[in-house]
Amino acid sequence: MEHEVLIVGIGGQGIQLVGKTLAQAATDSGLYAMLAADYGGEMRGGPSQSTVVVGDGPLRALPILPEAGAAIVMHDKFTGPVPERVRPDGLVVLNSSIVDPAAVGDAHRVVALPVTEMARELGAPQAAGLIILGAFVAVTGVVDHDRLVSAMTSLLPPYRKQHAEANARALAAGAAAVAERGDLPPHRDGKAPQGAAA
């Protein structure tokens, strides 16, 4: 079983970090992971995309995905391949502070969370991407929340270590927001959505 995730938004929203954290957490969990490169110019405000595939065996997925089972959408200025390539029954977790759910089409299961506002309320405006990642993992169960936290921590460069605590709170806030909601799509393993205590 392979899970393909398209992560899209604009430069400065932490799209690349979200992809890297998810892929690292999956690898640390003993799963197979692939994080495909984004070839766009790197600049704040420009399109940003990250592609992650996770599986429990050697991956068959291509580094440029023909289709995906899930997406994380942080900004409607750039939804990239999401409207076309997420499968009709796929999951879309989106940042409803910015993104109109109509931007991703209506065929998908959609989880909308206002993560830009949530990050501001949390006092960590730079961590909106990690809130949505915490929520995504809580909905899908693709990795354990604890693995996500340790992967995030291990990826911080020395000069950003001071953000570890706020980032962990952001991941937890995303998971908690999922746990508090009763209107979410079923967990893909058939289990209840898991969430860390906020």
Partner: protein, 365 residues
């Protein structure tokens, strides 16, 4: 999938370029020289980070010409050495690669290419003289890790430069990968290396393209030397062909592709076969030596041989040369460059490849 998988992972999440660098170090590469050029740059950066820890030397040189000649020098001293660039920089290295092929100095050249437009460069060479460069084209990072180790081995075994033909997907995709050392047969000692051990004895060694030797110890001279070189490349050409043939027996349609593109065509071909199409795939793994006899066998009886390559048509020359029926060979790829100029354009995409294969099937049916 269970999130509770807790077995200690042997795999690490590595960028392809770092995985290749680690594989090179695992193969005892201890000298690397290169000049930054995307998408080769991450390989140079990884080497710069890892090589000193391994006790080797990595130099960020002033130009590709300097880099390849330093590599030639290090290799002549008996060290496992490598250089690299993308095709544009490797164009500058051709003279030194040709010299190394003719004076029998083994090293590895990493072409972390921007696309597939360097097939001719890899397989025909741009230097002078009768030589070829043994070239492996991995389809993904895991295979690149194996090929890297194999290329150092083959370079030493045949005393010749060898080439890894990579690309941006292989250089920059991060995958969970394990750097497992390949079990390769032992090699003879480098009793030709200019390691300084003969200094002052009157028996100092030479690495010299013209093979004239010294007054006291004459060499074979250019005629005998270059005949021996020609025989060696003929031997490599026969012995080192590698390929992968998937479901080619009785297939009406055969798709031929190499490198990353072959991973995409394989995905599409498997889907079409599951839908009932009689279709198989042939992937040359060595671009030189081209696996011609294997292609002839795989294409026996095929009604169409479709070549998908991301260039104006380079490998198709080799496919036409060896296909069982050259009249059924046609190209379905083409030039496709990303707007940055640094990677593939939109043609490297499974749905587009599928459309092109289906169009070819319909046209002829």
């Amino acid at each position: 999938m269970s999130p509770a998988t807790t077995a200690a992972p042997r795999r690490e999440l590595l960028e392809g370029a770092e995985a290749i660098a680690r594989a090179a170090l695992a193969a005892d590469c201890r000298f690397f020289a290169g000049y930054p050029m995307s998408p080769f740059t991450p390989l140079l950066e990884s080497m710069a980070k890892l090589m000193p820890e391994a006790g080797g030397v990595c130099i960020n040189v002033e130009s590709e010409i300097e880099g390849v000649n330093m590599t030639l020098g290090a290799a002549a001293a008996g060290t496992r050495a490598a250089t690299g660039s993308c095709g544009q920089g490797i164009a500058l290295m051709q003279e030194a690669i040709a010299e190394a092929a003719l004076n029998e100095t083994p090293f590895v050249v990493f072409n972390m290419a921007r696309n597939q437009q360097d097939y001719f460069q890899c397989t025909r060479g741009g230097g002078w003289g009768d030589y070829r460069t043994l070239t492996l084209a991995p389809k993904d990072v895991a295979e690149a890790v194996e090929h890297t180790q194999l290329l150092f081995h083959l370079a030493d075994r045949y005393r010749a430069p060898t080439v890894l033909y990579g690309d941006p997907l292989i250089a920059q995709t991060r995958v969970g990968v394990e750097i497992a050392p390949l079990d390769l047969p032992p090699l003879p000692p480098k009793d030709w290396a200019l390691d300084g051990t003969q200094g002052g004895t009157g028996h100092s060694r030479q690495v010299w393209t013209w093979a004239m030797g010294k007054a006291t110890e004459p060499g074979p001279g250019p005629d005998a030397h270059w005949q021996a070189i020609a025989a060696k490349f003929e031997e490599i050409g026969a012995a080192e062909q590698r390929w992968e043939a998937s479901e080619t027996d009785g297939a009406e349609t055969l798709v031929v592709a190499f490198g990353s593109a072959a991973k995409f065509t394989e995905w599409v071909v498997e889907g079409l076969r599951a839908e009932g199409h009689s279709i198989g795939q042939f992937r040359p793994i060595t671009l030189w030596p081209f696996p011609g006899e294997a292609l002839a066998a795989a294409s026996e009886g095929a009604r169409r041989v479709l070549v998908f390559e991301l260039n104006a048509g380079q490998m198709i020359d080799d496919v036409r040369q060896f296909a069982a029926d050259r009249s059924v060979v046609r190209g379905i790829g083409g030039v496709s460059i990303h707007e940055s100029g640094l990677s593939y354009g939109p043609l490297l995409d499974a749905p587009e490849i599928r459309r092109r294969i289906l169009a070819a099937l319909e046209e002829e049916d």
